[in-house]
């Protein structure tokens, strides 16, 4: 699958590599909306999927879509 350069750039801006591992910038608005809609169990499932997608070496399309939805690229919010 050929990846969109904008998508790759967005993920690279949102996921910073540090000595302890990756640090991901999560969008508060989207995460709060998810918290409002999901139950505790579903919220745990979502965070499990997000953390697995963040540390994956080769991300699947589902993981890419999930990360693209919930990460923040760190720019100034509009």
């Amino acid at each position: 699958m050929r990846l969109d350069p904008d998508h790759v750039q967005k993920l690279s801006r949102a996921i910073e590599e540090s000595p302890n591992g990756p640090e991901v910038k999560f969008d508060l608005a989207f995460m709060n909306e998810a918290k409002r809609r999901l139950s505790l169990w579903e919220m745990g499932l979502l965070t499990h999927a997000l953390t697995r997608a963040s540390i994956a070496k080769r991300r699947s399309v589902e993981q890419r879509a999930l990360l693209a939805l919930f990460v923040h690229d760190g720019g100034e919010a509009t």
Binding site: G21, E23, V24, M43, G44, T51
Partner: protein, 399 residues
Amino acid sequence: MTDLIGHNNPPIETAADLPSGMPKMHYFKCDIAAARKATFDKPLDVRGAFWSAMLAMYEYMEPLPADDSMAQMRLGIKDVRTYRAVKKIMLNLGMLYQLPSGRLSNQRFEDEIAAYVTEFRNRQEAAKIREEKARVARGTRGNRPGIDRESTSNRPRIDLKSPANRPPIEDRLNVDLSKKTNENKGDATTIVPEHTPQTDHEAPLRARVLELELDSKGKKEREYAPPHTTRMPRRDDRDLPPVDVWVCRPGEEEIQPGLFVNCNMIRHRGFTVSIDSVAMQLATASIGIPKEDVPTIARNESIAQAMQWAADYDAGRQSNIPTNTANYVRGVVIAAQNKKAAHTNSMSKSTPYRPSSYGREKPDPQAAALDALEEVNRRKEAKKAQADFIDGTFTRIDR
């Protein structure tokens, strides 16, 4: 005990302790390894509760409230007993800890908030320094030695009332401009007195002095019209009584209070409609309206729309009145005509009858049954006549 935020500042327990004017956070950094290490062996609902608690703290930028019902609402948990249960689990597992005030907090959250506040303060300080430098630069420019154009003390004072400062204009005022003085050509060019470039600089001053001279003679208004043209009397000059134009004139009919119609115009205080304009637009629109029907349609539609607009105007809804009334009426008529044509086209198609088809006459079942019975009887009689003919007992009746 919480960390100190910033330099020698008290710990932040509520959002009120944050610096004023600090914007809300739009994202938070999550250390994935630490988060997985803290939650990988926990049930999914406990993980969800922990993440919900973290999100609530980041959203409100303060630790979770000590009040269980308020904290439960912030976490989005519907039952307070559920919240108390997960709170107990999280406190036991060390995911959250309780502040002396009873609030629940997390070390990672406090580090993030501290970093955010520090960055905000650094930016604030940088902006203050930048603004101070810009202010100093502006002040330096303002104090440069030179001519201050805004200062009135630096302007040369000219006493207009002093006759010594007035230029000699009396000879120029005495020039008869109405007389043609150019003998070389037949045009109306006037010869102005010669002037030097130095005197051109005094032109605005001369104009001002000329104006003052005219005013001092009691002439309130300057005459720009040449003397050979007659000046039309303006409305103010006419000695006419004020006319109320919003009354019914001869030939008009007041079809609604304040709405007057004559043969080619609809008048109202808020709008006018030219019936002739609408009729001409419709006549040239080629939309299939017979030529003889155009004036009637234009008049009726214009009056119908005008009555509604007059009612809107009286009700204070002037925005409902279109800017170009004739165009609007034309559009309404054309739209209605197009709709009618589309309906006619749809009806002319040879489609079989369906109960849902609009406009078709539904067949009467009783009449259909009678028609079928009649057809059966007719066939029976024909068959009987044929049998009689075959039997050979056929008698002519015309003899």
